[in-house]
C-alpha cells in the first residue's frame, strides 16, 4: 500500500528527500566546506533522474487530487533531465559567486522546490493542487532570481517576477473561482460532465488560461519574460525558459484537452490568436536584442508561439508532438543558455557584440552555441527541426494551413536573429575577442550531453515513438 503510494508519487517524494538531505547536510558543513554540497546534490539528483526514467504507472492519490500516468511520469523525467543539465551548468556559477558568500545548498533547495511544485502541478487532478503546484514552483524561483543580491538587476527582475506572478495567479484564481461557481467542483473529472457554458464561466476560463499563459509567456502575458531573464542569474533564466515553461504547456494541454474539452471551439480560436501574436511579437522583439539573455528570452517567447501550433491540434497527436518538442526544446535552449552562461562566466560578457571573433579563440563553445541556435531555428538534421516539423504537421492536420504559413514566415524571421550570434561568433573578426578559456568538468559533461541530444534526438525516431506510445491517455 505505502509502496504503491511511493511508487505513484516517487518523483515528488524523492525530491523532498533530496531537499531534506541537502538541508540537513548543510547544517553540518562549515562555511568553507560548502562545496561538498555540490557533489552530493548532483549525486542525489542523478539518482532521482535515473529512478524517474523507469516507466510509470497509472493511478491517483488523495481522492483524484493527484493523478499520474506514464506520460506524466515521463514528462517529470524530462524535467529532471532538464534540471540536471541546468545544475551541471550552475556549478561554476555556484563555485564562483555563491560559495565565497557561504551559499551553495540554497540554490539546490530552491530549484528543487520549484521543480517539486511543477511536479505537483502537472500531476494535479484538481484546481487546488494545480494552484498549489503553480505557486510552489513560482515562489522559490522568485527567490532564486534575486540570488545575485549584489546586482540591482537581479533585484529588479525578482520584484517584477514576484509581483507579476502574484498578480497573474490572483487573476487566475479569480477565474478558477468562477469556474468553481458554475461547475460546482474543483475536480477536473467532475468538470468534464457539465454541459452548458455561461458567460461567467467563459470569463473565468479566460482568466484561468491567462494565468497559465503567463507561465508559458504567451503574448500579451509575456512582458515579464525578457526583463526577468535578463536580470536573473543565467541558470535561473534557463530554468524559467525551459522547465517552468514546459510544465506550464503540459498542464495547459491536460487542462484544455480533458476537463475543458467542451470549450474546444473557444480555446482553438484563443490559441490561434495567441499563437500568431506570440510568434510575431517574440520575433519582432528578438530582432534587435543585443544582450544575449534578453535575446534568448524573446526567442523563447517566440518558441512558445510555435508550441501553440501543436497544442491547437487538440488531440493525442498534439500531446505527443508538443511533449516531443518540449524535450527537444529543453536540450536546445539549455544548450543556448548554457553557452551564453559559460561565456559570461569566463569573460563577464553577454552582449552579442562581444562575441565577435569567438570562434577563433573558443571554437568548441561557439560550435555549441551555433548548434543550439540552429536547433532552435529548426534546421535539419538537428533535433529542433523534427520538433518543429511535427508541430506544423499537427496544426496542418487540423487544416490550419494559414497558421502554419504564418509560422513558417516567423521561422524565417527567427532564422535571421538566430544567425546574428552565429554571424558575430563565426563571420566577424575582432580586435580583442574573448580570450581562450577552459571550462570545468561539470559544464563540459553538460554541454556534451546537450550537443549529443541536439544531434541525435531528432534522428533517433524511437524517442518520438515512445512518447507517442505513452501519450494515448485519452
Amino acid at each position: 500500500m505505502y509502496w504503491d503510494i511511493f511508487h505513484l508519487m516517487r518523483n515528488e517524494i524523492l525530491i523532498i528527500i533530496a531537499i531534506l538531505t541537502v538541508m540537513t547536510v548543510d547544517l553540518f558543513l562549515s562555511k568553507n566546506k560548502k562545496h561538498h554540497v555540490i557533489r552530493l546534490a548532483h549525486l542525489l539528483f542523478a539518482v532521482i533522474l535515473i529512478w524517474s526514467l523507469l516507466p510509470g504507472k497509472t493511478g491517483y492519490l488523495f481522492g483524484h487530487s493527484y493523478l499520474t500516468n506514464p506520460l506524466i511520469n515521463f514528462f517529470k523525467a524530462i524535467m529532471n533531465i532538464g534540471v540536471m543539465l541546468i545544475m551541471l551548468q550552475a556549478v561554476n556559477w555556484i563555485k564562483r559567486d555563491l560559495i565565497p558568500q557561504g551559499f551553495a545548498s540554497e540554490f539546490y533547495i530552491l530549484i528543487w522546490a520549484s521543480l517539486l511544485g511543477l511536479n505537483y502541478m502537472i500531476s494535479s487532478g484538481d484546481f487546488l493542487m494545480f494552484y498549489l503546484g503553480l505557486e510552489l514552483s513560482a515562489l522559490p524561483i522568485a527567490a532564486a532570481v534575486a540570488f545575485e543580491f549584489f546586482r540591482k538587476r537581479s533585484a529588479e527582475a525578482a520584484i517584477k517576477y514576484i509581483m507579476l506572478a502574484a498578480m497573474s495567479s490572483a487573476i487566475m484564481l479569480f477565474g478558477i473561482s468562477l469556474i468553481y461557481a458554475t461547475s460546482g467542483s474543483i475536480y477536473f473529472h467532475d468538470i468534464v460532465n457539465t454541459k452548458e457554458m455561461p458567460l461567467l464561466e467563459l470569463i473565468g476560463f479566460v482568466m484561468m488560461v491567462s494565468g497559465v499563459a503567463f507561465k508559458i509567456s504567451l503574448v500579451p502575458f509575456h512582458f515579464w519574460t525578457a526583463d526577468v531573464y535578463e536580470g536573473a542569474p543565467t541558470v535561473i533564466s534557463n530554468y524559467l525558459s525551459v522547465i517552468s515553461k514546459g510544465a506550464a504547456v503540459f498542464i495547459l494541454m491536460i487542462l484544455l484537452f480533458i476537463p475543458l474539452r467542451r470549450y474546444e471551439q473557444t480555446w482553438t480560436i484563443m490559441l490561434y490568436v495567441l499563437a500568431v501574436l506570440t510568434m510575431f511579437t517574440g520575433n519582432f522583439f528578438a530582432l534587435r536584442q543585443q544582450n544575449m539573455k534578453r535575446f534568448l528570452a524573446y526567442s523563447s517567447v517566440a518558441q512558445a508561439g510555435f508550441i501553440l501550433l501543436g497544442v491547437i491540434g487538440g488531440n493525442v497527436r498534439a500531446l505527443e508532438t508538443v511533449i516531443y518538442f518540449i524535450l527537444i526544446y529543453i536540450f536546445s535552449n539549455v544548450a543556448a543558455f548554457g553557452a551564453v552562461h559559460v561565456i559570461a562566466m569566463h569573460s563577464g560578457k553577454e552582449n552579442m557584440k562581444d562575441y565577435e571573433g569567438l570562434y577563433r579563440t573558443n571554437p568548441l563553445i561557439s560550435l555549441v552555441l551555433m548548434l543550439a541556435l540552429f536547433s532552435l531555428a529548426g534546421i535539419p538534421f538537428l533535433a529542433g527541426f523534427f520538433g518543429k516539423f511535427f508541430l506544423y504537421a499537427t496544426a496542418a492536420e487540423k487544416g490550419y494551413y494559414w497558421l502554419v504559413f504564418i509560422a513558417v514566415i516567423n521561422v524565417t524571421i527567427s532564422l535571421y536573429y538566430y544567425l546574428l550570434p552565429v554571424r558575430a561568433a563565426f563571420l566577424r573578426k575582432s580586435e580583442n575577442p574573448i580570450p581562450h578559456f577552459k571550462s570545468d568538468i561539470y559544464t563540459r559533461i553538460g554541454l556534451v550531453i546537450l550537443v549529443l541530444g541536439i544531434l541525435f534526438l531528432g534522428l533517433y525516431s524511437p524517442v518520438y515513438e515512445y512518447i507517442a506510445e505513452i501519450s494515448k491517455i485519452f
Binding site: R317, E320, I379, F381, A396, V404, T412, L419, L427
Partner: protein
Amino acid sequence: MDILTLFVIVPALTVGILLFTKNLRQARLTALAGMLIQTAMAFHLLWRYWQERSAGNDAVMLFTKDKLWFPTWGIHYHIGVDGISVLMIMLTSLIVVAGIFVSWKIDDLPKEFFISLIMLATGVFGFFISLDLFTMFVFYEIAVIPMYLLIGIWGSGPREYAAMKLTLMLMGASALLLVAILGIYFHSSPDGHYTFNILEIAKNAAIPPAMQKIFFPLAFIGFGTIGALFPFHTWSPDGHASAPTAVSMLHAGVLMKLGGYGIFRVVMYLMPQGTLFWTDFFLVLAVIGVVYGAYSAIRQTDLKYINAYSSVSHLGLVLFGLLMLNKTAWNGAMLQSLSHGFITALFFALIGMIYGRTHTRDVTRMRGILRIIPFIATAYIIAGMANLGLPGFSGFVAEMNIFVGGFLNNDLFKQTMTVLAASSIVVTAVYILRVVGMMIYGKPKEEYRGIPQAQWYEKTAIYILIFFISAIGMIPSFWIKFIEPGVENFLKPFLH
C-alpha cells in the same frame, strides 16, 4: 550497407574525419580522398544503373530501399534513383571534386571550409536520392545552411549581407515548400494512411484539384526560388558575387539544380492538375527570368554578377522546359540542369582563378589576359562559348531540346513564349562576347605581367569540367538515354 545510402555515409564520414585534421594539407587531402571515393561510387552507380536497365528492369526507381523512420507519421527513409538522379549525383560529385581542387590553397580556417563544403554536398546527395518528401526536405535544408557559413566566413565583398540574404530567402522559400509538403501529405491518401512517399502519393493521386491549385504555387515558388525563378532570384547575384570560388561553383552548379529537380520530381509529379492550372502563369515568369536575366547581365561589370545573371537566365530555361510538359522539353530541362551545372562551375572556377591573380573581378579593369594566362583565358572562352549555346558543347543540346520541345506544343501561347525565350541566345552572345572583348582580348596591362600560370590542381579542375561539357555536347544521345526513362515515368500523370 546499400549502394545509395553510402552516398550520404561517405561524405558524413569524411566530415567526421575532417574534424580531426590539423592543417590545410591534411584537410584538403581528406576531403579530396572522400570525394574521389564518392566520384568513383557515382560512376559505379552509373554503370550499375546501366546494367539494371539493360537487364530489363523498368521500375520507376532502382536500388530502392525503404526503412520506416517515424511510424506515427508514416515517415520513411526511402531512397532510390532513376537515370536523372544518377546523372545529378555524378554532376555533384564531379563538381565537388573540382571545387576541392580549386580551393587547394584556401588559407583561412581550411578544415572548417572543407567541412562546410562537404556538409553541403551531403545534403545535395541526400536530396537526389530521396524518394520521401520528408527526407528530401531535410536534405534540402542541410544543403542550404552551410552556405551561410561558407559565404559569410570565406566570402568577399558584402559577404555578411549576401550570406544573410541568401539564407533567408532560401529558407523562406523552403518554409513555403514546407506548407505545401504538409498540404500534400494530408491529402496523400484517400483512406487516411497518409504518406510522404512520392511514388505512392502519385499512385494514389488523391490530392483534390482544388488543393493542388493552392499548394502548387507554394511548392513551385519554394523550389523555384533556389532555381532562380523571377522575381525570387535576387539572392543569387549577391550570393554568387560574395561567395568563395568553390562555393559559387557548387552553388550555381549543383545547389540551384535542386530547384528544377524538385519541381520535376515533386511539384509537377504530385500535382498534375495544379500544374495545368498554373502553367501559363509560371511560364510567363520563367520567360521573364530568361530574357531579363540575360539583359541584366549585359550591364554588369563584375564577372560574378554577369554569371549570376546568366545563371538566372539559363535556369529560367530549366523551369521553362519543365513547364512545357512534354518529353522533349523535359529532356532538355534535365540536360540543361546538367549542362549548366558544369558550365557555370567552370565559369566560377575560372573567375576565382582570375580573381586570385588580378585581385579584381571588374571587367573594365582587366585587359588582355589571353596573352598573360593563356590557359585560363582560353578556358574562359570555351566556357563562354558553351554558355552561349555553341554546338559541340552541352548548352546547345539542352537548349535545343527545350526550344524544340516548347515548340511541339500545339498552343500558340507556348510557341510564342518559346520564341521569346529563344531570343535570349542573342543576348547571351552579347554579354559573353563583351567580357571576352573587354577582359580577355586586348593589350595586356603592364601590372599583370608575371602573374602565375594555372597550377596543376587548377588545370585538373578545368579539365574535368570541360571534358564533361564537351562529352554532353558531343554525344547527347548517351546522356538522354539516362534521362529519358525517368522523364517518361514522371510525365505519366499528364498523359491521359
